[in-house]
């Protein structure tokens, strides 16, 4: 046991060193979570991290041994949708497990403390576990005018974020707002809303976009951190590859209908009832990287496309501005009215060119050209 711990998961030493708490495995036993449920959870997490099944015992072993990490959860310009999603996570008692694994020392929505007591709890955590706690940020951060448009207990979100994220071991930006600014950063962005990585440059930020973020992806990210002692491999937009490494379109259960050429033409038509492809209804699955088709939401019951609605592209940067109109394939053309599609403008352009050249041709047919002298034969 000891040797494995030494060479395989060196990073967790750092995490386990700081806490006088029991290991995760012991806590779960105390809370009455059966070994079977725990192993089921480990298998689910292994799958969520896109690791081979053979890793499940490693995950279980690591979680058995690792001490529970401290976590602070900051709410900024948000709708608390990601907290809601987390609290409703019901996969084999994942909700319980995640809350038990983590020592959530500060979470405005779910903590019992309020006011000065809450402030104190945050202050204690970040001083006591400096450089060791995980910070989860939900919501975008107002940057305009010194960040005055978003304040908690008299301090701007910008100030809080820089202080709390700055001394965290790692920061997880949960949801699209924290990852990319989300709806608050949509044009005209009156508060100067920015993502965590923009507001707190230089920190390690893991983006988990989505509206809301799938709680399974958050759990898997934290489990990855606990098991391997490092953050998961990420793409150029700072998202873990295990969850955002593939396009929705390429894993979609309706993909065969796309390839076959079977499309929903109108809401509620026969094709819609048969579950055909939602491409023509403006589905943004071909433009969105997320594991929704495989991971799904709400106890893996469903996700938008399974429910008959196209993907809105909610986990992509600037989705609010670039993915609209939601029910059309192409964005509107800047500078033109909402009803002008690229095709209407294009047709106008081509018709205009055609007309112009037709007139030019007619005028040319009428005119008498002067021939160069030397070509005239006598």
């Amino acid at each position: 046991m000891g040797t494995r711990k030494d060479d395989a998961v060196d990073g967790q030493q750092e995490l386990s060193g700081h806490s006088e708490e029991y290991s995760v495995g012991e806590i779960l036993k105390k809370r009455g979570v059966s070994r079977r449920d725990f192993l089921k959870f480990c298998s689910a997490m292994t799958a969520a991290m896109s690791l081979p099944t053979a890793f499940a015992p490693t995950v279980a072993q690591a979680l058995d041994e690792v001490k529970r990490p401290t976590l602070v959860w900051l709410n900024f310009q948000d709708c608390t949708g990601d907290s809601e999603a987390l609290l409703r996570a019901a996969n084999p008692t994942v909700g319980e497990i995640i809350l038990d694994i983590l020592s959530v020392d500060y979470h405005e929505t779910i903590m019992a403390a309020a006011g000065h007591q809450a402030d104190e709890a945050l202050e204690n955590t970040i001083t006591k576990y400096k450089g060791k706690y995980i910070c989860v940020v939900e919501g975008s951060i107002s940057m305009k005018d010194g960040g005055v448009y978003g304040c908690t207990s008299g301090k701007t979100h910008l100030e809080i974020a820089r202080r709390v994220c700055g001394s965290a071991a790692a920061t997880i930006a949960i949801g699209t707002c924290a990852s990319y600014g989300g709806i608050a950063a949509a044009v005209p962005n009156p508060t100067g809303a920015a993502s965590v990585s923009e507001a707190v440059p230089g920190t390690t930020v893991i983006n988990l976009p989505g509206c809301p973020c799938n709680a399974d992806n958050l759990t898997a990210t934290i489990v990855h951190y606990l098991v391997f002692g490092k953050i998961p491999a990420m793409d150029s937009k700072g998202r873990p590859l295990f969850a955002y490494g593939k396009r929705i379109h390429d894993n979609c259960e309706r993909r065969p209908h796309f390839d076959a050429g079977q499309y929903v033409e109108h809401w509620g038509d026969d094709a819609h009832r048969k579950g055909f492809c939602l491409y023509k209804m403006g589905c943004k699955g071909p433009a969105t990287f997320h594991n929704c088709p495989t991971q799904r939401y709400n106890e893996k019951i469903s996700w938008p496309v399974a429910a008959g609605h196209g993907c809105a592209g909610c986990s992509e940067p600037q989705f609010w501005d670039t993915m609209s109109p939601l029910y059309r394939r192409l964005p509107k053309v800047p500078g033109f009215g909402i009803e002008h599609t690229a095709d209407k403008i294009g047709l106008g352009l081509v018709a205009g060119a055609g007309a112009a050249f037709a007139v030019h041709g007619a005028l040319n047919a009428l005119r008498k050209d002067k021939e160069p002298e030397e070509t005239k034969e006598g």
Binding site: R247, A260, G261, Q262, Q318, T322, I345, K370, E374, K376
Partner: protein, 221 residues
């Protein structure tokens, strides 16, 4: 009326003509399949059909052919004869070229009556080709960027990294789609001008693209 041109000259070398016709064919295929991909028709009768699959296959194959043709033409502009050379495409860069352009423009605008003789490219046409080339590059970059998204982290996806930072995903789609309309606008212009100059110059403007030969009134200076 028509008067015979005296001098027969070999202008368009084989690679130039080949690239031109490969472009014609691939652009036609790309436009037809591209519009279907943008606004598909429900041709499929069963989920086992592969209508969209084949249409996309044709689109991607034509895209490769078009890209190879374009790259070959760029290479040929360095090694081919002077009519194929890259200098032809920037007539506005030299005083002589600008003069030619103005003459041609005056003819087009019905100011001058005498059609200026051009041995190789029409200077106004090459200016349009330079703009068209930029559209082609935009089409190729956005097209392959969208295509490469099926394999994120793959070599093509990595190579096109700057395109993903320049465009939003939907922005790439819009640029790719809208550019086609500009190419259509060009095609109308191109066919009309070729027809016009064929009639006015009597130099076999159109057939030269098949045979390579043009006929000129004056001997080239």
């Amino acid at each position: 009326m028509p008067h015979q041109a005296k001098f027969k000259r070999y202008i368009w070398e084989l690679p130039v003509r080949w690239c031109h016709w490969v472009n014609v064919l691939s652009i036609t295929l790309l436009a037809v399949t591209g519009f279907f991909i943008g606004t598909p028709v429900s041709f499929g009768n069963s989920a086992s059909d592969f209508t969209m699959g084949w249409i996309r296959f044709v689109h991607f194959t034509a895209a490769y052919a078009f890209t190879v043709s374009l790259v070959s033409r760029v290479i040929w502009s360095l090694v081919g004869n002077k009519y194929a050379g890259w200098r032809e495409f920037f007539p506005f860069a030299t005083a002589a070229g600008r003069e030619k352009m103005i003459k041609m423009l005056r003819y087009y605008m019905f100011v001058d009556k005498e059609v200026p003789e051009t041995v190789g490219h029409n200077p106004l046409a090459t200016t349009a080709y330079t703009a068209l080339f930029a559209i082609y590059v935009l089409m190729i970059l956005t097209g392959f960027s969208l295509y490469a998204e099926h394999a994120p982290g793959g070599s093509m996806h990595k190579m096109l990294g700057p395109v993903y930072s320049l465009f939003s995903n939907q922005g790439m789609r819009l640029a790719h789609h809208a550019s086609m309309w500009f190419v259509f606008g060009f095609i109308i212009n191109h066919i009309y001008s070729a027809w016009l100059m064929d009639i006015k110059e009597h130099g076999s403007e159109i057939s030269s693209m098949f045979s390579g030969y043009k006929f000129t009134v004056k001997k080239e200076k």
